[in-house]
Symmetry: C2
Subunit: 427 residues, 2 copies
Amino acid sequence: MTHLHELTATEIVQAIHGGRTTAVAVAEACLLHIESRDADVQAWEYLDPGLVLEQARALDRAGGKGALQGVPVGLKDIIDTADMPTALGTPIHAGRRPTIDAACTALTRRAGGIIMGKTVTTEFANRFPGKSRNPHDVTRTPGGSSSGSGAAVGASMVPLAVGTQTTASTIRPASFCGCVGYVPSRGDIRTFGVMEAAASFDTVGLIARSVEDINLFRNVLIGTPPAALPEVAINEARIGFARTGFWNECDEDTKAFLEGFAKTLAADGAAVSDVAMPVALDEVQEAHRWVSSFEFVRNRTFEIDHHWERISSALRGGRIQDGMDCSFELYGESRETLRRCAALLDDVFKDYDVLLTPAVAGEAPVGLTSTGNASFSTLWTALNIPAVTLPLHRGPNGMPVGLQFVSRRYADRMLLGIARAVSRKHG
Amino acid sequence: MTHLHELTATEIVQAIHGGRTTAVAVAEACLLHIESRDADVQAWEYLDPGLVLEQARALDRAGGKGALQGVPVGLKDIIDTADMPTALGTPIHAGRRPTIDAACTALTRRAGGIIMGKTVTTEFANRFPGKSRNPHDVTRTPGGSSSGSGAAVGASMVPLAVGTQTTASTIRPASFCGCVGYVPSRGDIRTFGVMEAAASFDTVGLIARSVEDINLFRNVLIGTPPAALPEVAINEARIGFARTGFWNECDEDTKAFLEGFAKTLAADGAAVSDVAMPVALDEVQEAHRWVSSFEFVRNRTFEIDHHWERISSALRGGRIQDGMDCSFELYGESRETLRRCAALLDDVFKDYDVLLTPAVAGEAPVGLTSTGNASFSTLWTALNIPAVTLPLHRGPNGMPVGLQFVSRRYADRMLLGIARAVSRKHG
């Protein structure tokens, strides 16, 4: 028998709509499971069981038929909540109390979702780690910056969590924690009430344990009625295998898995071929670095000027130094590079529906001082296209390793349709 | 003798750097002038003279050489301030206290600017008017949504104010109030801490009494060192006269002024010709309507669900209804329309450095129940290009009427260079 906390969001909603369980029962099961695991995993920055049960009781009393009726949801702690603190991963803002729900918070509540609590993030959603650990091996990082969101879903504490991605901050923790992670086309989901890191790239990302759940949650956060994904047959898909310039940073095991999976998809009948990525796309990594740093450092002016000593030296010497070093001219040139590269990538997608590409270098690294290699998402995030990671592999130590599919901008439903078809067959 | 409150920001900085006046003297002069005028004009949502003088005294003690040293600045009340409330133009959020300065607030302070207070805005920076009146005739609107920012600068209460523009919210109040108004290329100035209305268009806008001041403030808010504008000769400028599809909404007086001004520029030696705007650009207005409404309504989910009865019926029946009526498909098609139209407009700029175009239909209308016709900025805002309005005309009732120059995206310095040359010759 599956425990309530192990159900997907889709299963919870069906069970509640069908009268077979209640929001309170689900919330209690998740709270109990969190109690048993969170001393080790430390996914939560803020969690008030009383507030959770209050929401659940109100939902049961109202008896609504929301698209997320009674589904517990974790929110990265850079997403504002009117009834919980939002501390942005820094002691500077410990206890900060917004008075307005972020758009994604409020849309989750409107659909009947329960805001379970706030999940741990790195400092200002950048690199300096929070306290969370990987639920599959607590000596390892869960990835970042949506560290607690990945860990909480990976540990079956909640079926859904919201993260964000400015570089690799959703795809990486989802991959490391054995989850499905999804980054929409930038702009599809509103960022009101989500801390701006670098607006040229900031995207609300979703973490779940199934592609169906991603689709369910996506519709809620876009603010549209529920809609099933298109049925996509693997054998009609045109799939490009994009090793990218970072291929040699992948573990041998990850390389072998991806090479093998490309062959598997071909055996499924998909048209799979190696992609010759335009060499100019190699410039994207550097352009992303300058644009994101330029924007980030100006967005943090208040903390730099008033709380410099409470910013980590890693952030001061990293992103902040980069942002201070970047002139407006370099920022402008870098934006122009990205504009040109986006057009080149559009051309690549004339021949492919999706690209198969690494999500991470391999298993989550041992140690909690780094959130791992972020290179495998930068290209796609920088060019604002959608991405999904599927937990279809285990590495040599039994840790989850995700693969990644990406598609052209705004082709999210097709991308998720293919991801679902692949999950059904190989998940 | 010019009174201190009538100085431009550039003049104030020079006087303070040169030891000829102090931040306290300037602040006191502005406060005194505000006291004499604001009962009529009502530009300020929040103004605490004690807090203003405290900032001024600290600046004088420190004796810095900031780019805005001692310059009083008004901030539209959707821009967060850590030491003042930010109420977003709605009683729902009266007394709301952010704990972090917006990027533009903090950058202003870093440069030695004094945050004078918060200026009145319309409800959620949309259409429903706040209490402000036009300083040139208090029976007339100052325009909106940066109503108080336009009124405060137009009344010489402060030399600089920050507004925002999602449709026409900086150019229109600047024009109605006799100010220079500037909307940068979208993305150049960070929006962290500025209420998101519709991120596809939201732009921080500046209001001042000279183009030099706009340039000074622009560099501060971009976060770059001071830099003089390029010297641009009018007789080397290629100027397109773009009446646009809204020409017939202009007053006869405004039409005559613009027709005459195009001839004046030609007489100055500029290459001036009528622009044949691509007919497809007529679709922009409708696309902007859907995109901005789709985004706005989702960003206001919290207030719609928890404070519906405190939202004006104008907003409920207008922007909110539009946003609820707009499907994700229509939103997507409208974004695609804008993408196509931006490319068409790029082509127009192959032949022109700037376009001369109406800023407003004419003088600010009598009455305070509407902020006036917003049509003349929508095209440019929707396509994310920079715009500047110059107060070079008075209408039949002696009220200011601005003209507008726009240029290609990211050509802001050239645009401001031309605007300065035109101001010097005809201002």
